[in-house]
Amino acid sequence: MSLAQETLSSLRKKLSAREIAPEEIVRDLLQRMEKTEPKIKGYLRWDAEDALRQAKEADISKPLGGVPIAIKDNINTRGDGCTCSSKILEGYVAPYDATVITKLREAGAILLGRTNLDEFAMGSSTENSAITTTRNPWDTERIPGGSSGGSAAVVAARSAIAALGSDTGGSIRQPAALCGIVGLKPTYGRVSRYGLIAFASSLDQIGPMTRTVEDAALILQTIAGPDPRENTSKNLPVPDYLSLMRQPLKGLRVGVPKEYFVSGMDREIEKAVRIAVDWYAKNGAEVIEVSLPNAEAAIAVYYIIATAEASANLARFDGVRYGRRAKDVSDAIDLHARTRAEGFGPEVKRRIILGTYVLSSGYYDAYYNRAQKVRRLMRQDFTEAFKKCDVLLTPTSPTPAFKVGEKTQDPVEMYLADIFTTSANLTEVCAISIPCGFSTAGLPIGLQLMGPHFEEEKLLRAAWNYEQAHEWHKQEPKL
């Protein structure tokens, strides 16, 4: 067996026992990447020599010592590119480390490989990447989900042990579900975003993408916590996730929001998730039906707030301080307008236009202000629901992985892929997707658990107990 097939926690045990050396893991991974990458295209680039150097220097006494981790290419790592899979950041070299990168380095992790994403994390399939479309390891005719599709695909393909992703409306959880892995979006404020290239600042979070719940807990333990450089990261202690997740299920109240089981959703997904609900009921948890009355509005609220914030955040790409610059321009306005026209892809342009529109005079009240009010109502719904239960259980995605090209002509169709995930970002709660089955076509199905603010341990406890009793996460795609 290749070390590339092992989990982060099992590699850590072997490293600590001096059974293996970090270089062996790196070599096995590089070998695996050579085999899988031509089909998957999950990585944008990697530096084998640098990874081997890091492996030689790795301090295996540290919590993540000697284990390679892949990074989504919208997180700054000093001296390396950070393309956001956009032409506008061609040639850009990060001048500093994101806080999560500093923390991974301090924990002894090896940084190996930068993963593909939808341009500026805007999309649900990686088809909006200006560089390449990543393929789903379970069926290479299909997309891996997005926007962290590269991270999800390489973890599933066993060409990465674990990866970091970012989640603004489901970008960690939806690809995790579609690729059959674990994806955790922490509470807003739990993990510093310093160094993450911003998409929508009131929604963005960085989180782990792994093959097991324990691995997700290990990485969260490392990257969580306050950061003086990031004024939305909360000054709260980080609990011991690894021990708290092992608490038995008994007494845990699992809420099932009726609005998330809508007519027209994929039957196999509904069935798999219902079976999981029954499993919880039979294994010590208390299952309660709850209501989130404004759940239906989530996509509408999301596409107003996220695009509004994106239109402001992406104003910084103007051809002056970094990245691409249009040639032969007539004046400063022409420089901005042409640089942005050449540098941004269609989805990014669409969202900048929509975001500018919903913030513009005459439309602000009808769209942006109203969306903020509905967001507040959604948050009240979640507060009420969490009085009755500890976690909420829903499907992660309304369908399994779809085919490459199937939804690219219709943005609305693509946006609906996020129907179950955007609420967690809008209400700032934590959420995780874990594998809960396969469709008859052999495609992974994920279930989502959402938990109250800063109570990731509840999610991990619910997810870990389920995982212990199931084998879904042990299935490997044939490549």
Partner: protein, 126 residues
């Protein structure tokens, strides 16, 4: 939200640079049709689009607006008319202390055009 109208670019001195075509767009824009005047909005956000893109975005953004129109059905009366003051997302402030700043060389390393420790841009003032 009266306050927001102050953010409108025409009131902050960019009228001249956009020209009269944009000004006529302004009047069209204010008609509440729920349809985006893409050519006009693209000027606001500094995106030079070709006609094919304008036509395509007009159709696609029309569909997206239909999707978000459902918000008009939700009763928001009584919900305060301010952005959410979520306790969770509130800012955490740090002490205002001296610390090392980003070195100029590093800040300029990605600049497409630079000279004498400065970013170079096309002439702005006539």
């Amino acid at each position: 939200m009266k306050k927001n109208s102050q953010r409108f670019p025409f009131e902050t001195g960019s009228k001249k640079t956009l020209g009269s075509a944009a000004l006529s767009g302004y009047h069209i824009h204010l008609v509440q049709t729920g349809k985006i005047d893409v050519a006009y909005v693209a000027q606001l956000c500094r995106l030079k689009l070709n006609q094919e893109e304008i036509d395509r975005f007009n159709t696609q953004l029309g569909d997206i607006l239909k999707l978000v129109e459902q918000l008009q059905k939700i009763d928001v009366s009584g919900v305060p008319d301010v952005p959410p003051d979520f306790a969770i997302s509130g800012n955490v402030l740090r002490k205002d202390e001296d610390r090392e700043s980003f070195p100029v060389e590093l800040a300029l390393q990605n600049a497409p055009s630079k000279s004498n420790d400065l970013f170079i841009v096309p002439k702005i003032v006539e």
